[in-house]
Symmetry: C2
Subunit: 452 residues, 2 copies
């Protein structure tokens, strides 16, 4: 039967990338979704899209293709899921030098609804329109490349951890108390107990340096921040690392390596994709300098004040401030004021504070990795002694007792340690030039969006 | 100063595994936690444990080691976090042919509390005792090996997916409705909306085959099952794969490869670890047969009935049933009854049901991967057409409208697809012989346990 609707025993023989004019006359089976169909009376042109690219299909009346197949093909709408078994024919007129002439067609799923945008649309104005039809939005070329690049970056990150002797961990996402001692947590009913979704694996990854020394986790984190910005998600993926017997300077060195290797992986993906697509890939990976600059918090406050800003020591640095200073590309801001930092962040020893002059206030061994105005990562040296943790908690007005499950670990001797969390979606934004964080994840969650 | 308490600029020069008697006379800095300390008046023996193994420390009165260092060392308790800078001395009497004579000691954290078990304990009777002191429990040799093996297995699994052209995805863990249409979900307050924690990435991974064809995700899943057994967790890691243009037979082939490569990775880790530890690693990896046997559900029911059991067609198969049949090692149970299967599971075509005779009832293109009585994975061919999904949902009494966010995707043409989820902790149990699933994860969550 030349037309049917079930996969049965038919399997793809080639991806689009595996076809070439040199295979003239060969029997091939291709599968995918229809990008375009155009019937001109006695001839039908179609394009099937698969994971790797496009396959041109040509069905002529009176040719090798059965009439019923040509007619069925021309009746289909874009996005339909199909398989074509047929003969590859070299064709100098075709963009890639060949086309496939169908002998058999399988129609797995017909399109029931007019899609809200064209599959070849380079941009679609309203992101909500796209998110409502995310399964076909993700078929668009720019998102295909973004997410394939994301997969490669994750691979590069894990390669780095593997090579450097880190152990992969998983820590619980359902927790009994707030890590950072505060707000922005989602509440959950855990059987008969109140519980929360973890904002970070912080306390667990710290504990695990006691037994595994160097650990990493790549997993979801949850933040109940009602921010409507292009850089906040309520559910995101965090690349966390934590290491014993090092301080925040060592961690910054690691981050610099991770960013460089991620960029290399992204660039290598793009080079390959451009070769296949003939240069038409609308993404670009920035160059990463050999040394990522480190600016102390104090020096930036000085510069802001010098430029007439009202910023005071202790204030946060806002995107508008960083823009004002013309900070661009990747850079670290180090040695933040101690006060606002979480209880587990270590205070700087004398001299490690402001590079620009006397140390005006207590600073911490902490850093943010920025790309322009976008915060990508935050990290620090952590406190390894229980009494120091408790005194910081009390200074912050936290309930020490509710953290006994964590503080108890420090009774058994914790090593000095340091670490950071890197926002995967934000790293991807910086490496691909993606403007909205919702396009750096598959199904974004924010204050307004719980579906699809 | 020969004794201090801060890491400062001191860094480890060697891991224990990098030291050997050939380095006689060399200055080394080692760091870790104290496994043992024994003072005999004028001589103190200590063992420092790091990520790779043990370093013997010997401090003699009147030798190279300053008295104050020897005394401070002998005052320490096991588990304390320390660094020793000193000289490596070849010593034929020492187990590995060398020892380190300290010149300088740093004491980062002193132990404040008597640990509830010895760090060298091979077994500890009460698992709750261990879980309450998990950071030091994880220092015990058997758990060190289990979790390092776990990290290697994850690596092998991802290598397989990479090689086979799968894209890594992440799907939302906060969802608006129940995937399997039912119970066992944790409820959550999502801003002003009710929501749930995802039991599986099922619907999202299915949708993503429309754009990426072959996808995988390794991420937490959440099940509110109040089961108190050695094989249930409320939060676990699921290895999910989903693939377009294949059926459940192809997926079983993939699982067989994944299990084989995971076992190879585990075995290769064990071989290396045994070399370092001199054979003393209490874990063993089973042989995986070239072909993992496939038993139809129907044939097992026939065998049970033949053995006098009361099992009826349509009943679940319980561990006791499988034990009765003497099923051992890895095997698949295929072609389960359709009725109890989730709405997205595809019905078998005629002839694919019971191999033992006529098809007595409707079966599904589904399988479970078992290891003895332990279910490791569950998978199936999925339905690709909206009308078929809806009719299955209605037959199961589900609210079709509340799944519009998912069903809507099928209006745009979904490919035939199939997939499975593999429980990482259960796979690890099967590959290491770990008896309790709580020791196949770092910080288990169950109906009774939310901390640490």
């Amino acid at each position: 039967m030349a037309i049917s609707s079930d996969l049965g025993d038919l399997r793809r023989t080639h991806y689009s990338s595996e076809l070439s004019e040199g295979m003239d006359g060969q029997d091939v089976t291709v599968m995918g979704w229809l990008l375009t169909v155009r019937g001109h009376g006695s001839i039908t042109f179609a394009t099937i899209c698969d994971r790797d690219g496009e396959v041109p299909i040509v069905a002529k009346k009176g040719g090798e293709c059965p009439d019923e197949v040509r007619e069925a093909l021309s009746s289909l709408k874009a996005h339909s899921s199909v398989a074509v078994r047929g003969t590859l024919r070299a064709s100098p007129k075709a963009p890639r030098g060949f086309e496939v002439v169908p002998a058999e067609l399988r129609i797995f799923s017909r399109v029931q609804k007019i899609p809200p945008f064209e599959p070849v649309a380079k941009t679609v104005k309203n992101i909500d329109t796209r998110l409502e039809a995310r399964p076909i939005d993700l078929r668009r070329s720019v998102l295909q490349h973004t997410f394939k690049m994301r997969s490669r970056i994750l691979r590069a990150v894990r390669d780095y951890f593997e090579r450097e002797g880190f152990i992969e961990i998983n820590t619980p996402k359902i927790i009994s108390s707030a890590t950072e001692g505060g707000a922005a947590l989602f509440s959950i009913f855990y059987y008969d107990k109140p519980a929360f979704l973890a904002q970070s694996p912080q306390l667990y990854k710290e504990q695990l340096t006691m037994s595994f020394e160097k650990v990493f986790e790549i997993a979801p984190i949850f933040r109940a921040e009602a921010s409507r910005t292009p850089r906040h998600l309520s559910e995101a993926i965090s690349i966390d690392l934590e290491e014993a017997f090092v301080d925040y300077n060592d961690v910054m060195d690691r981050i610099a390596s991770l960013v460089r290797e991620s960029a290399d992986a992204a660039r290598s993906y793009l080079d390959g994709a451009k070769e296949v697509a003939g240069g038409d890939v609308p993404l670009a990976v920035p160059e990463i300098p050999d040394t990522i600059p480190r600016h102390t918090y104090g020096s930036l406050v000085d510069r802001l004040q010098g430029a007439g800003a009202k910023t005071q020591w202790g204030d946060d640095l806002y995107p508008s401030d960083l823009k004002r200073l013309g900070l661009d590309g990747f850079y670290f801001i180090v040695d933040w004021p101690l006060g606002p930092k979480p209880f587990y962040v270590k205070e700087s020893k004398g001299g490690s504070g402001d590079a620009g002059g006397e140390q005006r206030q207590r600073t911490s061994e902490s850093f943010d990795l920025m790309c322009g105005e976008l915060e990508i990562s935050s990290g620090s040296t952590r406190i390894e002694r229980r009494e120091d943790l408790e005194s910081r908690m009390r200074a912050k007005g936290m309930n020490v007792d509710s953290f006994e499950y964590h503080l108890g670990a420090f009774d058994y001797g914790a090593p000095p340690h340091a670490g950071c969390g890197i926002g995967l979606e934000r790293l991807l934004m910086a490496l691909t030039g993606t403007a909205n964080i919702r396009d750096a994840t598959f199904y974004p969650r924010d204050v307004d969006r719980l579906v699809p």
